[in-house]
Symmetry: C2
Subunit: 428 residues, 2 copies
């Protein structure tokens, strides 16, 4: 007769969450050196067991091809020995980053002599729901471990074999380094039910971070009782002010739109001040044409399109809110900076907006009035990125206002607690 | 023929939220002086129009008495001229606090020459759902205005006349000071439906802060699609370590439990290390008896109760998770500090836990392992409070890990945004 464990009556997802919570309690007080050793062990294990990982990945790739998946997505799914080495190298980079846990965020001695310290602590259990790319599995595990958190990983069904192999390698390394293996778990089950359970595990899971397309993020935001950090949707704007250097404006527009079109910090809408439209738009439309970008133009932009090389279609109201993630851009002429701000506030997803201007007053007003995670002045929207910001790594880009906003590095994976130290202090 | 406004098809609550969002955009860039002037105008108006406020309040009080409301709650509801003066004085104190908006949280020049600044900005629209006390109406409005936020106030139906009068006075003063009056609004309607609508106003309302009993908070947490900051429930513990000064331990226990029993930072459970139980418990039980506290004791505490003056009842498992908010305390003897931590982690609401000890190692281990908003060492649990912490004011005490944890002052009513400044920087 076997003894019943309290876990026996729970669903596999709830069991995983309980185990993660227990592991999180063990991880929280660990010093940096112990966590870094575990990260280095993970990097080594990924390299040593590359064959096992690539073999598992081949099954996912074969299945994807059978299902007629596009080659672009198959490419994102594919792990080669070189890619596994790069992933291992990224884990070593995370080990080199400072540990946010233990940082004294603020501290003072109160008038009554009590010492007050606000100290960074891990969040506890972090759930990540993500799509396709198996490198996220390792990235997320490394960032969560480094910040003292246990992680529940819910990747795409299409990468299940790859993720299973990666998590097995990670868990072995973590356990071998003397840390609880349950600090890193793949959420069991490939069905939608396991996502739903994860979203209801309030009290066990401290935060859910969905990474992926807009519909995944919307679902998690609407259905989760666990607190969610909304990430990633980027309907970014480039506003070319009346007083802008034309060369700079063209260069920033093309870089923001076309340097890489499939990412959340790529520009999706161009707004041009009416006073500079006649000078700027002909140049801009030709440059967009050269970059292979189709312009979804309002009437006033359309007026300049006839004489350009540009591929132009008429903009509909939908264009103003679309995140194309493709070689498309919406474009409009506006009467003033304030009208540009108004347009942005109405349609933006709140990710990144850029202004190109030589006017200090315009730059100041735009940065004051635009309410997005990042406002760029005379710089490409493409800089909104944890790596570019010097954070060393990024778990996602928060487009919400609570907890973290913009690129999230290691400190954004922590909470704080207060330590109140007295010598017998009581309240009068 | 009147022109249709876009608001006409909306419910009153959604209309209020849209108006709040528009007001928030106007408030965000305002400098401190303008906001402080509005706060001082509110304080003056509260004093000038005291009669109007007290008269409205008398209706609520009369209705409460008719409904047989307890005198304690009637007292909390009642506004006298003195109390209105005190509320006005609190508003002047908020005006004296530094403005969190505009604070540069971090900043650096990136290797490519871009200047990066992370700057505090208002959250936008803050919804407060609260019970009974009409002073919260003014407090919340003042703190939100100071931090550049618009506020939607949803007070208790039992204070509707009082809140209506207070908000009318506040809005008149805000408008008179040249700020948008819609920055402060009472959520229309006294029914539960208006709360439900507020909880679904994602995209219009940036955060909901429920203040009140556990069931109100649970409802909001479970049903809201707007991000919620969970506040207030406090099942706080006092742990008396093997190495504790007995006098200090008794004093901290009595202060934590009985200095004011109805508040979230009052102690609800006493845990005593077995090695000090024989020395400490007889003294503690007598002191609790003197303070009028009933002890819900486990078997091992019960053994000491017979010879004491204490009123003692047997503890049930429910006692370990109960926030009494009354002259009651649960009490248990534990085998070790680690067992105390285990008990706390299992049952706590995560508010405040205190250790009484003369051992540096014990203090260090307890503060490392306990995962609550505040860990007190040789100090009363009653210090967990924005006023006590020197924050000047408090909108509530967050017991969750995201965004803010522990007492929330003005900075906790803000988000941040990044300002990226280049001179034509593009990404290569």
């Amino acid at each position: 007769m076997t003894t019943l464990s309290p876990y026996d009556s729970m669903s596999p997802v709830t069991q995983a969450a309980y185990r993660a919570k227990a592991a999180a309690a063990d991880l929280a007080p660990l010093p940096r050196a112990v966590k870094d050793d575990a990260l280095l062990a993970i990097a080594d294990a990924l390299e040593v067991r590359t064959a096992e990982i690539v073999e598992a990945n081949a099954k996912d790739v074969a299945k994807a091809r059978e299902n007629g998946t596009s080659e672009a997505i198959v490419d994102r799914l594919t792990l080669t020995p070189e890619r596994v080495r790069a992933i291992a190298s990224d884990v070593r980079d995370v080990a080199k980053l400072p540990d946010p846990v233990g940082e004294v965020v603020r501290g003072s001695t109160l008038p009554n002599g009590i010492d007050l310290r606000q100290v960074r602590v891990p969040l506890g259990v972090v759930g990540i729901i993500y799509e396709a790319r198996p490198n996220v599995t390792v990235d997320a595990a490394a960032l969560c471990l480094k910040s003292g958190n246990a992680v529940l990983l819910r990747g795409s069904g299409s990468a299940y074999a790859s993720n299973t192999a990666l998590v097995r390698v990670i868990r072995d390394a973590v356990g071998g380094a003397g840390l609880p293996a349950d600090a890193v778990q793949l959420v069991p089950g490939e069905s939608r039910d396991s996502v739903r359970e994860l979203m209801r595990a309030r009290g066990l899971v401290d935060v859910l971070i969905p990474r992926g397309g807009a519909s995944l993020i919307r679902t998690v935001v609407n259905e989760s009782t666990v607190p969610v950090i909304e990430t990633g949707t980027g309907n970014c704007h480039v506003y070319v002010d009346a007083q802008a250097d034309i060369d700079t404006a063209v260069e920033i527009l093309i870089n923001s739109k076309a340097q890489r079109v499939s990412v959340c910090n790529a520009a999706e809408t161009l707004l041009v001040h009416q006073d500079i439209a006649a000078e700027f738009l002909p140049r801009a439309l030709d440059a967009l044409a050269e970059a292979g970008v189709t312009v979804h133009a309002d009437d006033r932009v359309m007026a300049y399109a006839k004489d350009s090389k540009a591929t132009v279609v008429e903009a509909t109201p939908e264009d103003w809110e679309t995140e194309y993630l493709s070689h498309d851009i919406a474009a409009a002429v506006v009467d003033s900076l304030d009208k540009a701000v108004e347009h942005i506030r109405l349609w933006t997803s709140g990710h990144t907006e850029a202004i190109v201007t030589t006017s200090q007053q315009a730059a100041r007003r735009f940065t004051q009035l635009v309410d997005s995670t990042t406002v760029a002045v005379n710089a490409s929207t493409r800089f909104t990125d944890g790596g570019q910001f010097g954070f060393g790594a990024e778990i996602g880009i928060s487009t919400q206002k609570l907890h973290a906003r913009g690129p999230m590095g290691l400190p954004e994976l922590t909470s704080t607690k207060y330590i109140v130290t007295g010598d017998g202090h009581v309240r009068r």
